[in-house]
């Protein structure tokens, strides 16, 4: 396997803003991203959902680009924009024809320098966010399962365990003063990375970064809540009602080893062995062979994109004629087999080929058909903010390809234990009761 050599320029402006440039002139399109090192995990107590609500506010106007202008300027340049809030980062990104690069940087610079929003904007976006929560969670079968149901069961530290989309009461309590404080605290250049990928000239891109971001003053280093979890000593279980869907569901999450350790590389390949689509052991056993489950999927979500406690999570919807305990026993049998027998050399070889192939695809695409290089952008951003090492995109694959069979069996034994897991049961409510209500 030849080593990857994606050309990458990285530097730091005087105000602490990291700048990462990855030129590639295949298509006349440039992807720009700004990542801030702030996510769900770090939002203030009593303000659940705030990091995400704040992300919406970043589209509501800045000093020189009032409300509607952000969206209008990007769309009318022939591009798309969006943002997303994750556990440890929040991103804002645009894909545009490359002739719009300077305009995009002006806009991102303007909102990093001076967010300008009012009470009306906040009320408007609070309403929008509530409809987002309804359409994705409250009014959908299995909405938010398990990503919202699991944390309060699995974790004890509020940073990891609260409702990331936000309780409506907390959203209602959020004030303009909170918005301003959050902006001043976390949205400082020294807590961010600017990325430019695709059809750019690195020298020009660097000069533009200096021009539009260089004079934004650095802020105090933001305080970070400690996401450390107290040691877990026994299996944790929780129960949630399913209001719409007809099938009983469960999610089983195992806490992962420390990021970028040999155990972590092995665990990620083990995850592939277990959850790798229709060839994965869990789907094969529960859906194809024993036919207990209708769906059995999951795994490590966004493998490089977190910087605190995280899990490998299996999501199962099983047939009503099986009990939850029977379904769980079937899963346990799959896990026990790996613990007792390990995996074969041929299986490991297959897993590595598939992992390499998937990794290439991650670099090329990653978010819909209209956000080229999202995957590469995301990796570069996380490796910069968490590891201070953007060039890891070219070498991280080697860690996975070096994993040995014994290491996979060892992590299966060490991590796939009841006292390292949490289970959420999501059970359909009684239909007759619902009709009567």
């Amino acid at each position: 396997v030849t080593r990857l050599h994606i050309p990458i320029d990285s530097s730091t402006l005087n105000n602490g803003l990291r700048v990462v440039i990855a030129p590639d002139t295949n298509a006349p399109v440039v992807t720009v991203g700004v990542y801030y090192k702030i996510g769900f995990r770090l939002e203030p107590q009593g303000r659940s959902g705030f990091a995400h609500l704040f992300e919406h506010m970043m589209f509501q106007g800045s000093e020189n680009a009032p409300k509607m202008q952000h969206i209008k300027l990007i769309n009318s340049s022939g591009g798309v924009l969006n943002g997303s809030t994750m556990y440890d980062v929040t991103n804002y990104y645009e894909a545009v024809p490359s002739n719009a690069l300077e305009r995009v940087l002006w806009l991102e610079g303007d909102r990093m320098r001076a967010l300008k929003v009012d009470e009306e904007n906040l009320t408007n976006q609070r309403d929008v966010v509530k409809e987002e929560v309804r359409v994705n969670v409250l009014n959908q079968p299995y909405g938010g399962f398990p990503w919202l149901d699991m944390p309060p069961v699995a974790f004890r530290n509020w940073a990891n365990a609260h409702n990331f989309y936000g309780d409506f009461a907390d959203l209602d309590a959020a004030s303009l003063a909170d918005v301003q404080k959050f902006f001043r605290t976390y949205y400082v250049p020294n807590n961010a990375v600017l990325l430019m990928l695709g059809d750019v000239n690195p020298q020009e891109a660097q000069a533009l970064a200096e021009k539009y971001f260089g004079s934004i003053p650095a802020g105090a280093a933001p305080p970070f809540a400690d996401p450390t979890e107290p040691p877990q000593t026994e299996e944790r279980r929780g129960h949630v009602q399913e209001k719409f869907g007809p099938l009983p569901a469960m999610a089983i999450g195992y806490v992962l080893p420390q990021r970028r350790t040999p155990e972590w590389y092995a665990m990620v390949l083990l995850d592939q062995a277990l959850h790798g689509g229709r060839a994965g052991r869990i789907y094969r056993e529960l859906v194809l062979e024993k036919q207990i489950a209708v769906e059995a999927d999951g795994g490590v979500d966004d493998v490089f994109g977190y910087n605190g406690p995280s899990q490998m999570t299996t999501r199962i919807l099983h047939k009503p004629e099986y009990t939850a305990e029977q379904s769980l026993a079937a899963l346990d049998a799959v896990l026990r087999e790996v613990q007792e027998k390990g995996i074969g050399q041929e299986e490991l070889d297959q897993l590595k080929v598939k992992w390499r192939s998937d990794y290439y695809s991650t670099l090329e695409g990653g978010r819909g058909g209209y956000m080229p290089r999202y995957g590469l952008m995301h990796l570069l951003a996380c490796f910069t903010l968490f590891d201070n090492e953007p060039l890891l995109v070219n070498t991280v694959l080697e860690g996975f390809l070096a994993v040995k069979r014994e290491e996979i069996q060892a992590v299966a034994r060490k991590y796939l234990r009841p006292e390292n897991r949490a289970i959420v049961f999501r059970t359909p409510v009684n239909k007759d009761a619902k009709e009567a209500a």
Binding site: R113, P217, P246, L363, P372
Partner: protein, 457 residues
């Protein structure tokens, strides 16, 4: 305001000169057995993407049962004369490949992507699935049971219930009206039905193979000929056209979804196919109405009023007929207010010419988005396939941007008047009846359905 350093307002930087948009050269060929092949190089990653399309799907066979073509595609990947289900999945993993099988109304397809170094064995597996699928009885029975659960589950999704109802209204007796089978229909599927569908649809004369990626086209063409060249089979018989129902006036179709905490609105009307000469101007008109974040509908009911998170409009271009739709999930208290705005924006486009600046913004958006597909193998594949499957002109991709740029406000006004038939649009609302019925009835005579799709009033 969280302003830091006071700044004088700089002007928005102008757009730099545009870089040329160049679509990769396509190699088009017909194999000795009649199979059409389109190939293009794209060296972004050491992989390639491919799709083997068959020009028929549910619509061709829906008089036998609903969902048969999809069920055929599902069971297709579970066994061939040479490999069982487990071998197929492990072989894919060995090649670093992904494979999907699917069927829509007008096409069935086997899509695949894998490492270029393993192109030959991956194509051999695709070939086996296309020609020698064995439809093992136990695999068929398992997939049928899975489908039964899926059919029950989809009836709990507001989006599904709205789409199902609108399609029935717009397409009446046409196959496009049937988007999903009933439990009884699924229970009655037989393995022989799938084999019959497979024999009719999956033939080289009916197929199109598109591949894009890190390969040499001549070399890849050689592999394709070697792999697929001796496969034989005819096109299926063409099907008779069915007339669509005529829609008069505004009627409301309320689907009662007990316990709903939000209302899914879906409004629509007949439109056109991609082949129609008005496609490009209708597309631009739609993008201005509700097809972009910056569109009038999104600005109105999301950014100004906060009624909804994800409003949008679009044109679904099925092969025989297209349809226009407007969709929004809104809070229960503002169902009537949202519908009022949806129709207000439609009627405004029908009555007042679009200002020049807004037209030019929309033209930039549509042409820019069209070029985004250039950056990925999948994006390229999708564009090439669209051209071929819809029998669009060979220079469609190269001339599209100029055609969009040539459109005038008068063209858009004409398109809105012709296709946004707001006075005769059916309105579907899915939600809790007690909370929304009064508002819904303001917009027309109302039929009420349950979540099983049965009319209750």
């Amino acid at each position: 305001m969280a302003t830091r350093a006071p700044q004088t307002a700089p002007a928005v930087p102008a757009l730099a000169p545009e870089r040329a948009v160049t679509w990769p050269k396509r190699t088009r060929a017909r194999l000795s057995n009649g199979l059409e092949v389109v190939l293009a190089e794209a060296h972004s990653i050491p992989k390639f993407h491919g799709e083997l399309f068959f020009r028929a799907g549910e619509a061709l066979v829906s008089d036998r049962s609903v969902g048969l073509a999809e069920m055929t595609s599902t069971v297709l990947r579970t066994g061939t004369a040479k490999r069982n289900s487990r071998q197929i999945e492990e072989d894919l993993r060995r090649l670093g490949a992904d494979l999907g099988t699917s069927a829509g109304q007008d096409t069935s397809a086997i899509s695949f992507a894998g490492l270029s170094e393993f192109a030959e064995p991956l194509l051999e597996l695709v070939n086996e699935l296309a020609r020698d699928a064995s439809f093992p009885q136990p695999e068929f029975e398992r997939e049928r049971r899975q489908k039964l659960e899926e059919v029950k589950l989809e009836r709990t999704s507001p989006g599904f219930l709205a789409g199902e109802r609108l399609r029935k209204i717009l397409f009446g007796k046409h196959p496009y009206a049937r988007i999903s089978p009933t439990e009884q229909q699924v229970a009655a599927y037989r393995r022989e039905d799938l084999e019959q569908v497979y024999r009719e649809i999956y033939t080289p004369e009916n197929a199109l193979l598109v591949m894009v990626g890190d390969f040499d086209p001549q070399n890849m063409l050689g592999i394709a000929e070697k792999t697929f060249g001796n496969w034989t089979g005819k096109k299926p018989a063409a099907q008779q056209a069915t007339a669509l129902p005529e829609l008069h006036g505004r009627r409301v179709y309320l689907v009662h979804n007990p316990g709903s905490v939000q209302t899914q609105i879906l409004v629509g009307c007949h439109a056109i196919t991609r082949k129609h000469p008005d496609w490009i101007r209708l597309g631009l008109t739609n993008s201005l109405y509700g097809g972009a974040f910056n569109s009038r509908l999104v600005m109105n009911i999301r950014e100004e009023k906060g009624y909804t998170y994800s409003p949008r409009s679009g044109i679904s271009p099925l092969r025989q007929h297209g349809y226009f739709f407007v969709s929004a999930a809104v809070r229960n208290e503002v169902v009537a207010a949202s519908l009022t705005e949806i129709f207000y924006e439609l009627d405004k486009l029908r009555s007042v010419a679009v200002p020049a600046a807004e037209l030019s913004d929309a033209q930039n958006y549509v042409t820019g988005m069209f070029s985004m597909g250039l950056a990925t193998q999948e994006g390229l594949l999708s564009q090439f396939a669209t051209v071929e499957l819809n029998e669009l002109p060979a220079d469609y991709l190269e001339t599209y941007r100029d055609k969009v740029r040539a459109l005038t406000s008068a063209d858009l006004l004409g398109a809105a008047r012709k296709y946004f038939d707001s006075a005769n649009m059916p309105i579907v609302v899915v939600g809790d009846r007690a909370q929304i019925e009064e508002q819904a009835r303001l917009f027309g005579d109302t039929e009420v359905y349950n979540a099983q799709g049965e009319r209750v009033e």
